[in-house]
């Protein structure tokens, strides 16, 4: 099991950007799409997100499993929330196209338009978020968060998470082996509670040992002066002209979409 962070987009357009830009863009994009209810506006936003994702240069074969999982989960979420349960109260507007069996929910153009808008919103948000996972060097993430004025402890905590992921995975493997030689096998039961309980021989030692080891690590950090108010971050980050341009572009998108919600064009669900 390899859980080492995957730095897949190094060298790409986004890989060369200041990591803070990659953290700020999803926030701005979220503001933008949160204000869009019209599928046409959402298509416009999705096109921008798609261009941004292409600029990340993330190899498709490396992330297709991630996308498959994400699309499956998103699709189920949207179908259940927007179609099956008829959560959208605009279902009554316009003629019914068909009725969902069992639930009896009537489908209209408005309902379908709402569902597609929701689906695009989630997918495009993922597009602008993938570069956070794959285009920021793991060693830069803590620095980037600190330079965004988050607490130094929190920022370094993120760095530490990446540092200890491989050793935690190794400890997990070792513990599974230590229990297997005592006859432990993971439960094949379909009962989720029984399945969960059967993980106890692995989860308990891994957790307890991680807590014990954490004490040593915290001590070691204290003994090297960690926790002072002023700290130097060796990694220098600098926003370049291109970074400012990209950031400005997304700020404009967020502003424009907010304005359209207030002024009318994309504020309501569009019905063909």
């Amino acid at each position: 099991m390899d859980i080492t962070p995957r730095y897949l987009g190094s060298g790409s357009f986004l890989g060369r950007r200041d990591p803070r830009l990659l953290l700020l863009v999803p926030v701005l994009y979220l503001v933008a799409v949160a204000n869009v209810a019209d599928v046409r506006g959402m298509l416009l936003c999705t096109a921008v997100a798609w261009l941004y994702y292409l600029a990340a240069g993330i190899p498709w074969r490396e992330v297709r499993a991630n996308w498959a999982l994400l699309l499956t989960f998103t699709l189920i979420l949207v179908v259940v929330n927007s179609v099956v349960t008829g959560a959208d109260t605009r279902a009554g507007t316009g003629p019914a196209l068909f009725t969902i069996p069992v639930t009896g929910t009537e489908m209209t153009w408005t309902t379908l338009s709402y569902a597609v808008t929701t689906l695009l919103r989630y997918i495009s948000l993922s597009m602008v978020s993938f570069p956070v996972a794959f285009n920021i060097a793991p060693s830069d993430l803590g620095t980037a968060l600190a330079r965004l004025r988050l607490s130094q402890r929190l920022a370094y905590g993120v760095d530490l998470t990446f540092r200890f992921l491989p050793s935690t995975a190794a400890a997990l493997r070792e513990t599974v082996d230590a229990q297997r030689v005592r006859g432990y096998e993971h439960s094949r039961s379909r009962n989720p509670f029984r399945k969960l309980l059967s993980l106890r021989p692995v989860v308990v030692p891994v957790t307890v040992n991680a807590l014990i080891d954490a004490e040593d690590t915290v001590n070691a950090m204290d003994l090297r002066g960690f926790g002072a108010k002023h700290r130097t971050w060796m990694r220098e980050l600098a926003f370049g002209r291109t970074d400012y341009l990209v950031l400005a572009g997304f700020a404009v998108l967020a502003g424009a979409m907010t304005a359209t919600k207030i002024l009318g064009p994309f504020g309501e669900v569009w019905t063909p």
Partner: protein, 564 residues
Amino acid sequence: MTIKLRGASVRYHSTGRQVLAGVDLAVGPGDLALVSGPSGGGKSTLLRLLNGLIPHAYRAEVTGEVLVGGRPVAEQTIRELSTVVGTLLQDPSKQIVGTTVDTELAFGPENLGLTRAEIRRRIGEVVERVGIRHLLGRATAQLSGGELQMVAFAGVLVMRPRIVVVDEPLANLDLEASLRLMRELRRFVDEGGAAVVVEHRVEEILEFAPTQVLYVEGGRSSYAGDVDGFLATAPVAHVKLPFGTLVARAAELPPAPGLPRGEITPASGGTPPAKGPASARPDPRLDYRRVTLGYGERNVLEDVDLALGTHQRVAILGRNGAGKSTLLRAAVRLLEPLRGTVHVDGAPIVERSTRDLATTFGYVFQNPGQALFCATVADELAFGPRNLRWSAAEIERVSGEVLRAMLLDDEDDIMNRSPRTLSFGQQRRLTVALALAMRPRTLILDEPTAGQDLHTTTLFMRQVLAATESVYFITHDVDLALTSADRIVVVDGGRIVADMSPAELAGSADVWTRAGLRQTSLVRAIRDHLHGRNGLHGAGGIPHPFDLARFVSHQSHQEGNPPS
């Protein structure tokens, strides 16, 4: 003096237990102090007192005088103390917080708020000094144990401390890797620094000429003075002393603690049982036939032909990463051979699952904490047998037996205690009991005594060696292998480079050089005094160091030469 303790006592608030009582220590520039003593004697607490974790991180009542850099430790922040005292933990992997060597080395100076130019200058200096420039840019997760230790040391030196305290530098690594660190530490002292080294393995540290020794036992200082005085008075059953010292103190050595012996290999040098027709000899317990083992596309061991007997005590020796654990994990199918076959009791191992193999091999991992998860010792002991569908009555019977075998039955209400409340030594014995509860015929132990003092090690091995018909164990401790095993297998460079009796191995100078193993004074003594004297050693085995020391002393007196 950089550090001065006068009548220092510590009582933890959490337990109310007094763990240090009236300890004195003074360490200044050019001093290398060795702190030794039995496990649980207060050494770790002393270390925490020196670096300021007590009282700043651990709530404890401290009495007496504790001065660091001439000022009371309680009046300084840990950050201030970090520029005076540098600390190297026993396990460097817990100390290293950077994802790359560069970020790791920068961590301390960054915390001090130094300028980037100054940090770069310090890193440049320290990587040259410690000889790790080639590691810059590497991910710390990919470093070997020895490299990690050197990077951790560099991460301490870059803070420019006046004194470095080191906790058990020899516990986790093979001796050669650990001694590289000690050489650098000695250089640091020679250049005007000071060091305090906490270590059980006294003999190896003596090579680096400590200027003073503090022996802490039961929280009290039972010896404080120079090395010669310590060697003359140190408790011989508790401290691993150089063989020459044992000879010099031969008259006062106690009877050698008896270790159960297994099948003794032939006197001709303990050659392992020859391969021959199956009908002519019993099947070996574990038989590797042209086996290649590895992970993914990386071969760790290649073309291994090795047969381990049903009544043997086998030690597996080798450097860190040589493949010792890989070899024995294949015995319980935690790892499948990439090529070749493994047979257990004459049958291919693939016919049995890891669960089935638990009644043949009891596998004990190095860290007891990896196995313990139940609320009580009784439940913990029952876990394995329950997986084998044994009856409640049978489980109760076997639980009692194995606790007795591991000398844990005298503990108050042991069955209802939480395993985590036992001491580390007790937890280690409990993990052996957990393996024994499945009635295996052979025990496999991975580094069973790492970081334990001599007395604890001796008691532990005596119980373990008597528990099953055969024991195979991995160790870095050459002397433990020589004194506890009747056969030693040396792994190096992806191959088995030696498979012989302890006496024969001690005499094979080329194996030690080839496999990068360090010859202890006991190894040299066996070679110098035992070779060619068949009557002395039980064929392939060797006598206990006490018996050998008495013999050497007696011989010297007979020949009129005082023992050296």
